[in-house]
């Protein structure tokens, strides 16, 4: 009995210990990498989920951390993201569509962004206000234009014209081009006289009770809004998304009434990697409230499509005002930073302390000098972001790096800033932040990508790949040392180090014949390091073999560390 008791105790203890690395990424195989995750199957209409932004704050700030602590499977670190195909990419889905990182979009496509409908609302009017904005603090309303389309109209604050609308326009284009679902937004200029009120339009006044909207409410709203020289008002018009709104999505868990939602959101690569894109755009207000699930009908199927919305707090904007200094550096309530300050008796000074002057009112508090991609934080913790691994971050960084300077400039142009110097400052800051993101995450992950087979001059097949770190100019070709070895099952061969001679374009080939490609699959592990350092990058395990008489790459898996 004592032995049996000991055995059972050990078994029970073992069951509570984190299981070995549960890697559910699509493994390389002769089957092509999955390009589309078919989560757009017909589902019954889900209920509308009503979130609570105060609870979201408390949950994220105070409850999430203990919850994660008790998730024993995280004790070895976050698990790899689930929805990754055999080429370390995210398939298209109702959450994400590969765009600029797959195929460079034209400047017109960047400027157009998600705008595929009939263009902005006609500004001759009339615009009939049908109600207040459901959420957010920017002044605005919902209206039906003369064509009967429903729009959300958002304004800037009197003190900071173009700040919120500009930030939202730029971020919309860049988020869309990155692959996320966003709303159609347009900059409009209209005469307030075209605005009328629908008889059933309501507003929640300062008493907290809903009452009929009166002309005085609109007049009061317009007093708080900056006017152009000709008396017109600049605003951002956001087209009502197609479908039925079903509330926001959470950055953790799954939606219980969505049969298509198979993957816990905190383990979706595109939500984890969103942290990198959000850090680039300093979208510190990214949270559950600024997401939206729409029950759409596409190709005869009804399903939930998942959107990011409301970027008025991105770049240098905090909607009504420029970002406070803390934005992007600390959570609203950051236990870690509070702890550092507390333990050091106030000697620890956070890096953002000290006033950074706002150079342009329309751009707000946005700069690159103090930006550290690995330390960027939104307003409060997001579980998916906490689960970001180096490989997820590398994926996100590749998306950010896919944007050229001209594309960034095109996105900024869509905001129609009246101050060209401010627009140019914004462009340069985005470029600098892009480079910081690339420099950090590429070097952390190694930067080896695009593995392929090429035929050598003597007809032999060789494996070739890109060293993105060299291609981006973050490392000198002469500094880079590569090594590879072949692994068959559990048996691994010796490492072979080599330098890529004349590798000025960052394209590296394994010497033809240095690796044999048998009829079955084998794994070639590749690593890189910079000469002065001694640490090798996390490896990439490339599966290759012969398929139908042709040597082929079947896919690759990046090691998390």
């Amino acid at each position: 009995m004592p032995r049996l008791r000991a055995l059972l105790t050990a078994l029970l203890a073992a069951s509570l210990v984190a299981p070995p690395f549960a890697d559910a990424r699509q493994k390389p195989s002769r089957r092509r990498a999955l390009a589309v995750d078919n989560d757009m199957k017909d589902i019954p209409e889900p209920k509308r989920y009503r979130d609570a932004q105060f609870y979201d704050f408390f949950d994220a700030t105070f409850f999430q951390q203990p919850r994660q602590t008790f998730d024993l499977t995280r004790w070895n670190g976050p698990r790899p993201a689930y929805n990754v195909n055999s080429e370390d990419q995210v398939p298209d889905s109702s959450w994400f569509t590969n765009r600029n990182a797959r195929r460079l979009m034209s400047l017109d496509e960047i400027r157009r962004g998600p705008n595929n409908g009939g263009g902005p609302p006609e500004t001759r009017g009339p615009w009939t206000i049908i109600g207040r904005k459901e959420s957010g603090i920017t002044p605005g309303f919902r209206m039906k234009d003369a064509a009967g389309e429903v729009w959300f109209i958002k304004f800037d604050s009197l003190e900071n014209p173009e700040l919120a609308t500009g930030a939202e326009m730029v971020s919309t284009k860049l988020y869309y081009a990155s692959g996320y679902n966003t709303t159609e937004n347009y900059i409009v200029r209209f005469d307030p006289a075209i605005v009328q009120i629908a008889p059933d339009a309501t507003i929640v006044d300062s008493t907290g009770f809903e009452c009929a909207m009166a002309p005085a409410d609109v007049t009061e709203m317009m007093k708080q809004v900056p006017k152009l020289a000709d008396g017109r008002v600049r605003a951002m018009a956001s087209r009502l998304l197609a479908g039925k709104p079903k509330g926001p999505f959470k950055y953790h868990g799954r939606r219980k009434d969505d049969p298509n939602d198979w993957i816990p959101h905190e383990h979706r690569r595109e939500l984890r990697g969103l942290r990198v894109v959000a850090s680039w755009l300093n979208d510190n207000d990214i949270r559950e409230r600024n997401t939206l699930d729409m029950y759409v009908t596409e190709n005869g199927k009804r399903f939930l499509r998942h959107y990011l919305i409301d970027y008025g707090s991105s770049l240098g904007s905090d909607t009504l005002f420029p970002n406070i200094d803390r934005a992007g550096f600390e959570y609203i309530f950051d236990g870690g930073e509070i702890g550092k300050s507390a333990m050091s008796l106030g000697l620890y000074q956070p890096p953002w302390l000290g006033n950074r002057p706002v150079r342009y009112a329309s751009v707000g508090n946005f700069e690159a000098g103090t930006f550290r991609p690995e330390r960027w934080k939104p307003n409060y913790p997001i579980m998916a972001f906490d689960n970001l691994t180096a490989v997820d971050a590398y994926w996100g960084a590749r998306i950010v790096l896919s944007f050229t300077d001209a594309q960034i400039r095109a996105a900024v142009e869509s905001a129609e800033y009246s101050d060209k110097a401010a627009a140019e400052y914004l462009v340069q800051t985005l470029i600098e932040r892009r480079e910081r993101i690339g420099r950090h995450w590429l070097q952390l992950a190694g930067g080896l990508d695009h593995f392929r087979m090429v035929t050598g001059t003597n007809g032999e097949m060789a494996m070739q790949f890109d060293d993105l770190t060299v291609q981006r100019g973050y490392a000198e070709p002469a500094e880079r040392i590569y090594r590879h070895r072949v692994r068959n099952g559990k048996k691994a061969g010796p490492w072979h180090e080599f330098k890529a001679a004349g590798n000025l374009d960052g394209v590296v080939s394994l010497k033809p014949g240095s690796v044999a490609f048998p009829s079955w699959e084998q794994v070639i592990e590749v690593q890189v390091r910079n000469a002065p350092e001694s640490r090798w990058s996390p490896g990439v395990a490339v599966t290759a073999g012969v398929d139908a008489g042709e040597a082929r790459i079947f896919g690759w898996v990046r090691a998390e560390s």
């Binding site: 049996l4 008791r5 059972l8 078994l11 069951s15 509570l16 984190a18 299981p19 549960a22 559910a24 699509q26 493994k27 195989s29 002769r30 089957r31 092509r32 990498a33 999955l34 390009a35 589309v36 995750d37 078919n38 609570a52 932004q53 105060f54 609870y55 408390f58 949950d59 203990p66 008790f70 998730d71 024993l72 499977t73 689930y82 990754v84 195909n85 080429e87 398939p91 797959r102 300062s206 008493t207 907290g208 009770f209 868990g253 799954r254 198979w262 993957i263 816990p264 509070i338 300050s341 008796l345 106030g346 000074q349 000290g354 695009h450 593995f451 392929r452 099952g489 082929r552 079947f554």
Partner: protein
């Protein structure tokens, strides 16, 4: 029992997420042909259609309709979480209730409604009061009836009423006239009733014994008037300055009874000869007081200086020989040590000196001990004719609404000021936090340690 446990263990192991997914997805992908891994359907091994045109990028046409990146829904949490949910159940229930409450707050706009109701109350000249009634009274609630333009725009009327759960009661009235400008010259009439049923007394002197704790009940009624002037300004460096000078007279009638704290003997039994214990007192107190400050933010200072001084004569209005002078001075300094850090220093002295052979009722003596004076000691721990106090606080901001504090308090009481010596100082040290609102610190928590043990304090009104 053992079989049930085995079954449980087996179930937990089987429930570990990812394991099943891993086994289903190509675990045999790297095996040689004709190996033992024959479980993979042959269709999965058939080469697909045309290879990608771009290096490393798959063609969507290669995938079959209906393919999912994972083969089944994945549980958000592992087996460990399922086990941990059992002890965490109360917290999870709390979380669910909390979420529902906050949703209600938001969707029913309860915040706005509460603000509206408060404004409605203020229009009816009623204001709720929350806070303490002074050292040792605990948290009190009450209401204030007020009118800031009572009969005239320069006349202010306030009638506060507050009570704490430990039956401390206080109510009064204030009628204030702005005779010129914005309080450049003011005249105030006030009256007050206080019932303090559980006041502590440990004996007189610096060496009083903590074990001799007794309790008494103090009930006093007072009425008086004050004439004064108050000015505010701003210095060249943006600091705010203020001056207040006041002459006042007040009649105070005090009665002392046995205290209502059953845990301790009444003061009358242990210290029967204390001045003012037997019959209370009827006193007239008249004199001057003044204060001056230059501070960056008077409600939450980080830099600057503040000083207060007072001098009163107190005469007995009946046959009791309670004639004495009351005087005191306080100086506070705030030294900024870099943006989030401040060193705050307070020097306080209070004196009572009997006149014409008179005596001072014990409840009018200066005291030390408690959150407002010397932390680490009980409230009202030391009484005597003279008190000297030094508070040193190092405050540093850790969050926009939260300062942490490390403090050292030192004080002594003595029969006369001339009797103060370095050796008599008694000290306490500790730390705490100040929760700040828009108007400065609104709530403070301290832990103080002294030779008499460790004490915890909550206070609603910062002393400095």
């Amino acid at each position: 029992m053992s079989s049930a446990v085995c079954a449980l263990v087996a179930a937990l192991l089987a429930a570990a997420p990812g394991a099943a997914a891993q086994s289903a997805q190509g675990a045999c992908a790297s095996s040689k042909p004709n190996s033992a891994c024959t479980a993979i359907p042959q269709t999965a091994l058939e080469p697909r259609a045309s290879p990608s045109t771009a290096p490393g990028l798959p063609s969507p046409a290669d995938t079959a309709d209906g393919d999912r990146i994972v083969d089944r829904p994945i549980a958000p949490h592992g087996a460990g979480w399922k086990v941990a949910r059992v002890p965490l159940a109360p917290f999870l229930l709390f979380g669910t209730g909390f979420e529902k409450g906050l949703k209600r707050l938001e969707y029913d706009h309860l915040q706005l409604k509460l603000k509206h109701w408060m404004q409605q109350l203020e229009r009816k000249h009623i204001q709720p009061m929350l806070g303490g009634l002074g050292t040792g009274t605990g948290f009190a609630v009450g209401v204030k009836i007020f009118d800031h333009e009572f009969l005239h725009r320069r006349v202010r009327l306030e009638i506060p009423l507050q009570q704490s759960p430990s039956n401390y009661l206080q109510y009064g009235s204030l009628l204030a006239f702005n005779l010129a400008g914005e309080r450049a010259l003011f005249l105030e009439f006030s009256a007050q009733f206080r019932n303090r049923p559980k006041e502590d007394f440990f004996g007189l002197g610096n060496d009083s014994v903590a074990a001799f704790r007794t309790t008494y009940k103090l009930v006093d009624r007072s009425a008086g008037a004050a004439l004064g002037t108050e000015f505010f300004g701003r210095t060249n460096r943006g600091m705010k300055s203020g001056v207040r000078l006041e002459a006042s007279a007040r009649y105070i009638n005090t009665n002392i009874y046995g205290g209502l704290d059953d845990n301790f003997p009444v003061t009358q039994a242990v210290f029967p000869t204390l001045n003012g214990l037997a019959r209370g007192s009827s006193l007239l107190r008249y004199g001057f007081s003044g204060s001056y400050y230059i501070l960056d933010n008077p409600s939450d200072p980080h830099a600057g200086f503040r000083a207060r001084a007072k001098y009163y004569r107190v005469d007995s209005r009946n046959s009791d020989p309670f004639n004495f002078n009351e005087s005191g001075a306080t100086a506070e300094g705030y030294i900024p040590l870099g943006k989030p850090r401040t060193l705050a220093l307070r020097l306080l002295s209070e004196f009572r000196s009997a006149r014409n052979g008179g005596r001072v009722p014990f409840y009018h003596l200066p005291f030390l001990g408690g959150s407002s004076t010397m932390r680490g000691f009980r409230e009202f721990r030391f009484y005597d004719n003279a008190a000297l106090l030094i508070n040193l606080e190092y405050r540093y901001r850790v969050w926009k609404a939260l300062d942490l504090v490390v403090f050292h308090d030192n004080g002594q009481v003595a029969p006369r000021g001339a009797d103060f010596t370095w050796e008599r100082f008694r000290g306490g040290f500790g730390g705490g936090m100040r929760v700040k609102g828009k108007k400065g610190a609104t709530l403070q928590f301290f832990v103080g340690r002294s030779s008499e043990g460790t004490r915890y304090y909550i206070s609603f009104k910062p002393e400095f």
